[in-house]
Amino acid sequence: MIRLNLVLLVAVVVSALYLVHMQFESRQLFVELEKAAAEARRLATEHDRLQVEKRAQATPLRVEKLARDQLKMRTTTPAITQYVPLPASRASEGAR
């Protein structure tokens, strides 16, 4: 009887310690998860920021300035544009 009780006692203690350990482990993992989520959020906002930045670098004002000054381009006029009619099969798409 006593032996059985001792075995059970040991089992209870081991299980309790294991539970504590698991709890600790799960919290550690949770902290990792949180860190990763925070990083993901940071990257997402960084992405947003960079998109705005990219857009700011490509405003019509800047594009036009660069095209005019650096690339020596000029605005087209109908006089120097050749208009090609759409093939009949694609005309319906283009009309939309």
Binding site: R27, V31, T45, A56, T59, P60, T75, T77, P78, I80
Partner: protein
């Protein structure tokens, strides 16, 4: 003999202890255990809620999960406004480490004078002071690197407007709390704001989140708003307007570009404008979205509308002869003049030459009510159906109060008032085969059905008159473009100051459409107080109209409808040896 002590037979041992003592001890022990059990039961069962709460107070925290504010996009998905992280710097004055060198650096990074920084952190009784709100992220990182004690950061968001001043009046801006204040930011604030969420967590000793407890409320991000604005058209319109305002030494100006098929607003620009991100020292002049908030007498721009109303009522045909000589006409004690004596004109000629007398004689063939009905159907005197703050309805008095002289002046656009946007909108009736279409700031692919005001034939007849007005012998010849047929009406009006008209202050505008047979766009241009010599709408506003039309149609890939002498060599001629 030696006397030895017999411990084994000590009399003390022999004395019998009373049984109650041992029982007393046992009872006391039992009582102690009972006390513990009772306490345990109290903690675990009866007072459980209290202890749980106390535990939570010490370790559980509610975290606010901020929702992202939606972006504003143009019709092609380009960003017009978006939120970026911009930390705010705050301090606890009492805790600040007052190292002069470091404070100097901090002041430099915050770009405020050192004296101001010192003033802010002077009062040591305060426990919270904003040093600067919404600095750039890179600056915030440098400040964090300084490591000054008592200086903290709070994560906040700031709006960025890549288009800057070109689209400022359309997009508007938010305040420091990210609440829309102007323009689309205000009009669609609810849609874009989103709903912040929250979560309850347990934090450990080091402040790390170790467990979620209870329910999470996920944040709902704000919706992106896609406008009908085309940022290229918008920029171009703004640029041309700005140049025109400068070269004519004008006070201000506006441009409205509408899609004549869908009713979408492609561009809406005003000058002077402002940088939405730098709003110090802003004046009302810059902030005002003139195209929709300023109302003025539309002047000659009303003439095609009067003529269209008469055509629709069957009182005239485009070829009916109207006698406008001798260039003066008296009615109700007032004398109305034309700039020249045009003699006998056809109805078409009245619009082409912009004769005041011709249009008033056409108006006299109608009743005030007929005119009022058409004006009202075209949106005059009514608030535009536009999702935008501050749009004015303009002024159109009820027809019952019109005196004959007022009916006469209204026929050529005096005595009623409207915004530039309303004028552009009313012209969609001509552009859209007699049906006025609702306008929208949001992208929509479907052609608008519209409400019939004129018959398609009459609309086409008026378009022809508008084309003549912008053609040889008309008042708006500078509206011509290369390759695209245009039609439109110029207008010039003395500004009303107080109760009378100023003699040297004018407003010039031009409203028209292109290509004239199947209009794709309606463009209205207004220049306020041009004072560099020229002030006629045909000279000041028509060139802006021309450039805007040319570029807009090119960007919309509309094929030119007029013959253009090509300057391209399709096939290079083979050189002979």
């Amino acid at each position: 003999m030696s006397r030895s002590v017999l411990y084994a037979s000590s009399p003390l041992l022999a004395s019998k202890a009373p049984v109650w003592r041992s029982k007393f001890i046992v009872a006391a022990m039992a009582l102690a255990f009972l006390g513990l059990a009772g306490r345990a039961a109290y903690i675990q069962v009866f007072g459980n809620a209290f202890f749980q709460r106390q535990g939570e107070v010490r370790f559980a925290r509610t975290l606010e999960l901020p929702a992202n504010r939606g972006r504003i996009l143009d019709r092609n998905g380009l960003i017009l406004a978006s939120s970026v992280v911009a930390p705010s710097i705050w301090a606890i004055p009492e805790d600040i480490d007052r190292d002069p060198a470091k404070l100097q650096q901090l002041a430099r990074l915050l770009s405020i004078p050192l004296a101001e920084l010192n003033r802010k952190i002077q009062d040591e009784d305060k426990t919270f002071v904003w040093l600067k709100r919404q600095v750039d992220e890179s600056v915030a990182l440098e400040i964090a690197a300084l490591g000054i004690k008592g200086v903290y950061q709070r994560k906040e968001y700031k709006r960025k407007y890549p288009e800057g001043e070109a689209a400022a009046h359309v997009v508007g801006f938010t305040n420091v709390e990210n609440i829309g204040q102007e323009g689309v930011e205000l009009a669609f604030d609810k849609d874009m704001a989103g709903r912040p969420g929250s979560r309850r967590v347990i934090k450990d000793r080091l402040g790390r989140v170790v467990e979620d407890v209870g329910e999470q409320v996920p944040p709902v991000d704000g919706r992106d708003v896609q406008l009908s604005i085309d940022s290229k058209v918008q920029f171009f319109a703004y640029q041309k307007l700005r140049d025109a305002v400068h070269s004519h030494k004008a006070k201000a100006g506006s441009v409205v570009v509408l899609d004549a098929v869908t009713g979408e607003v492609l561009a809406l620009a005003n000058y002077p404008s402002y940088q939405p991100e730098k709003r110090q020292n802003l004046s009302g002049e810059q902030l005002r979205n003139r195209a929709i908030t300023d109302m003025f007498e539309p002047g000659s721009t009303m003439k095609p509308i009067t003529v269209a109303a008469a055509l629709e009522a069957g009182r005239v045909t485009p070829q009916t002869i109207i006698e406008t000589g001798p260039g003066k006409y008296s009615i109700g004690g007032f004398t109305i003049n034309d700039t020249h004596n045009y003699g006998a004109l056809t109805v078409e000629g009245v619009v082409q030459k912009s004769s005041n007398i011709g249009s008033l004689k056409i108006a006299q063939r109608m009743s005030p009510r007929e005119m009022w009905d058409v004006y009202t159907a075209l949106g005059y005197g009514q608030k535009p159906q536009l999702q935008f703050p501050g749009a004015v309805p303009g002024r159109l008095r009820p027809w019952k109060t019109w005196r004959p002289v007022e009916q006469a002046t209204m026929s050529y656009g005096y005595g009623l008032s409207a915004s530039l946007f309303q004028m552009a909108h009313s012209y969609t009736a001509f552009a859209h085969d007699g049906r006025i279409i609702p306008t929208t700031m949001l992208k929509s692919a479907d052609p608008a059905p519209g409400v019939k005001v004129f018959s398609p034939q009459n609309a086409a007849a008026v378009r022809k008159m508008l084309q003549m007005a912008a053609g040889p012998g008309g008042t708006g010849q500078k509206a011509q473009t290369v390759g695209y047929s245009v039609g439109g009406k110029s207008g010039t009006a003395r500004k009303q100051i107080g109760k009378s008209y100023a003699s040297n202050k004018y407003r010039a505008w031009f409203t028209g459409m292109a290509p004239i047979d199947h209009p794709r766009i309606v463009v209205a241009v207004m220049i306020d107080e041009p004072s560099a010599g020229q002030y006629y709408g045909g000279a000041v506003a028509a060139p802006v109209f021309s450039e805007v039309v040319q570029q807009t149609l090119r960007m919309m890939s509309v094929q030119p409808d007029m013959a253009v002498k090509p300057q391209i060599v399709v096939q290079a001629a083979e050189e002979s040896f």
